[in-house]
């Protein structure tokens, strides 16, 4: 009697599961990767869900993690803010394309008593992360900030412990402005940091800096603004002091775009451009018929990409990201149109 009931309920459960699985299968997309654009993406996908009913699950695990997931083909798209290098394309089981989504600013944020506004140069930031400047009232910092009363407090640099496109762009900038940084530490998604403390993801670095006096960290502007954190004004290559903002980030991205959109924006020549700006991309396979993907799934993905570079852009400015400039949108349209299923374009 009892066992009968158990086996009956197990059967019912199985049927229930199978039913749900088939009913809900097509209405979801999965992505993972960069945490830099995560506030913008989660906002876009929330709106996209209200608009279309399609649930786009984006897991912010870091750029390196996203690339690994797309390489393993366990997600529909990977997110990264360090584009794949030519030499690395062969690691992917199919041809991948980059679709840029937004432009953001990597800000130098810090936690000091009182609401101090600091000016910093790339050189000084490099020296802090090299361990050469260890106190907040070091001459190198006070000289840049006349009139600001800096405390005699040890500096604790905070860096990303996970493989990160934000780290890639931050170290690209430091390598561009400091020869010592370039030779000693270099430029990659993860580097061996001379000093400091690690934290996972943009959210993690922001969390540590927000909670620990004396710390300095680098995060996307949205994270700093959402949490009312102090942000440094940085001197750009034209010698101007630039506050990270939507306008100064847009200015940094105002130049020409290559057809494949793979471009590093740091240390821009633009006079009003913020020097640590970065694009961020979604990476997908050009040919979508792989594994057991349905055409429907591929169509959903392409529709989402198209929406993100057009209508989706309206949601990013409120979070202080810069929308894609017209040349980047144009280049992206061509790339999205080149995505195929069985060799047939999915969108015209």
């Amino acid at each position: 009697m009892k066992r009968n009931a158990v086996s009956k309920s197990l059967m019912l459960l199985t049927l229930f599961v199978l039913g749900l699985t088939s009913a809900l299968g097509a209405q979801t997309l999965l992505g993972s990767g960069a945490t830099f654009p995560a506030p913008a993406y989660t906002k876009m996908f929330d709106e996209y869900y209200k608009l279309t009913g399609v649930k786009v699950n984006y897991q912010a695990i870091g750029s390196s993690g996203g690339l690994k997931n797309i390489q393993d083909r366990v997600v529909d798209f990977g997110g990264t803010d360090s584009f794949i290098k030519d030499a690395d394309f062969s690691k992917y089981p199919g041809q991948v394309v980059h679709i840029p989504t937004v432009i953001g600013a990597i800000v130098v944020t810090y936690n000091l008593p009182g609401s101090l506004k600091l000016r910093l140069t790339g050189d000084v930031v490099a020296d802090i992360y090299l361990g050469k400047i260890t106190k907040w009232n070091d001459k190198a910092i006070t000289e840049l900030n006349p009139g600001v009363k800096l405390p005699n407090l040890a500096i604790m640099p905070v860096y990303r412990s996970d493989g990160s496109g934000t780290t890639f762009n931050f170290t690209a900038y430091l390598s561009a402005v400091s020869a010592e940084w370039k030779s000693k530490v270099g430029n990659a998604n993860s580097v061996s940091w001379p000093v400091g403390q690690g934290a996972a993801q943009n959210a993690g670095v922001a969390g540590v800096v927000k909670q620990t006096p004396g710390t300095i960290g680098y995060v996307e502007l949205a994270y700093a603004n959402q949490n009312n954190m102090a942000v440094a004004v940085i001197k750009n290559s034209s010698g101007n002091w630039i506050e990270p903002s939507l306008a100064s980030t847009s200015a940094a991205a105002a130049g020409a775009f290559p057809a494949d959109t793979r471009i590093v924006l740091v240390n821009t020549d633009a006079k009003e451009g913020y020097p640590i700006s970065s694009l961020t991309w979604l990476v997908v396979y050009r040919e979508q018929n792989y594994g057991n993907r349905s055409r429907e799934q591929a169509e959903q993905l392409v529709k989402l990409l198209w929406w993100m570079i057009h209508d989706g852009q309206q949601y990013v400015t409120a979070l202080d990201y810069a929308p894609l400039p017209a040349p980047a949108v144009k280049a992206s349209e061509a790339i999205i149109k080149s995505i195929t299923y069985n060799g047939q374009a999915l969108i015209k």
């Binding site: 197990l10 459960l13 599961v17 749900l20 699985t21 809900l24 299968g25 979801t28 999965l30 993972s32 995560a38 506030p39 989660t42 906002k43 996908f45 929330d46 869900y49 649930k55 699950n57 984006y58 897991q59 912010a60 393993d72 083909r73 366990v74 997600v75 934290a199 996972a200 993801q201 959210a203 993690g204 922001a206 969390g207 800096v209 927000k210 949205a222 994270y223 959402q226 949490n227 954190m229 594994g291 057991n292 979070l319």
Partner: protein
């Protein structure tokens, strides 16, 4: 004189007694107060975030205040269902093998394997299931998360079920065999039902053990800001939400992490209490 020596000896013994009593009572007190302090902390911080939205709303975009953790509550139930559907039959059969072949070489090897399995860090189980299940199926899923959790549950459940089988008086089996009942029927219909409460207890503790695991889920069930009822798609879970929210810079998410922690603690605690009261009866 003699009397003095006696009282001196007595005092020394008395002192010794007090010292040892303290040596035992202090650690006991520490353990008890630890539990009380942890519970108090979780209740104090977590109870504020428990409201209707918390139970019935999905996660909001990064940095937006509000929303809830319904996706994690449902996700945790889903991975636990998968885990127990796998772990219960496997551990019951393994325990039956151990019961039937007590002391044999193979049974001893199996016992060693079980205790070694218990020592494998749960993050390793997560990574292995990523390679075994997630990559071949080309998707993160509640299913993969459940498999990982079932491996976490197995060693505990096998040894607990084995113990409860061993506790059934051997006269039951002998009586059944004497009446001409085939051995397999005697085991299935006499021994297993007699150990039923122990098996139920093992199941409860297995669930309690797995419910709080984060590491096996990071690479398997993966997380999901949306409510998903699809077992072959990624789902959120309470430990994953706590892990993600605590690291974040958002005050609202810190608050929700405490709420999720309270929920998890209440769930595990009530499972333990339920088992405890059953045992006494």
């Amino acid at each position: 004189m003699e009397n003095n020596v006696f009282t001196g000896e007595y005092k020394r013994r008395k002192r010794k007694d007090i010292v040892f009593r303290l040596a035992i009572l202090v650690p006991t007190g520490i353990v008890v107060s630890l539990l009380i302090l942890i519970l108090a902390q979780v209740v104090m911080n977590g109870s504020k975030s428990l409201n209707l939205d918390f139970f019935f709303q999905q996660q909001k975009p990064f940095g937006e205040v509000g929303g809830g953790v319904v996706q994690a509550i449902v996700g945790t139930i889903m991975v636990l269902v998968v885990a127990i559907v796998i772990a219960l039959p496997v551990s019951l059969l393994a325990a039956l093998y151990l019961y039937e072949h007590k002391g044999s070489k193979r049974a001893n090897v199996l016992l060693d394997v079980v205790s070694t399995l218990q020592g494998i860090p749960s993050i390793v189980i997560g990574v292995v299931i990523y390679i075994w299940v997630v990559v071949p199926l080309k998707t993160f899923s509640a299913f993969a998360g459940g498999i990982a959790l079932s491996i976490v549950m197995l060693p505990l459940m096998i040894s607990m079920i084995k113990e409860s089988l061993d506790m059934v008086p051997s006269s039951y089996l002998e009586a059944a065999l004497a009446l001409g009942v085939p051995r397999w029927r005697a085991v299935v219909e006499i021994i297993v039902p007699a150990a039923a409460s122990g098996i139920l207890e093992a199941t409860g503790l297995g669930i309690a053990r797995a419910a709080g695991e984060t590491a096996p889920l990071i690479f398997t069930s993966f997380g999901n800001p949306f409510l998903s009822l699809n077992f072959m798609a990624p789902v959120s879970a309470l430990p994953l939400v706590i892990y993600e929210y605590v690291k974040s810079p958002y005050d609202d998410w810190h608050q929700k992490a405490w709420g999720a922690a309270l929920l998890l603690v209440l769930f595990v605690l009530s499972l333990n209490l339920l088992i405890g009261t059953r045992k006494k009866r």
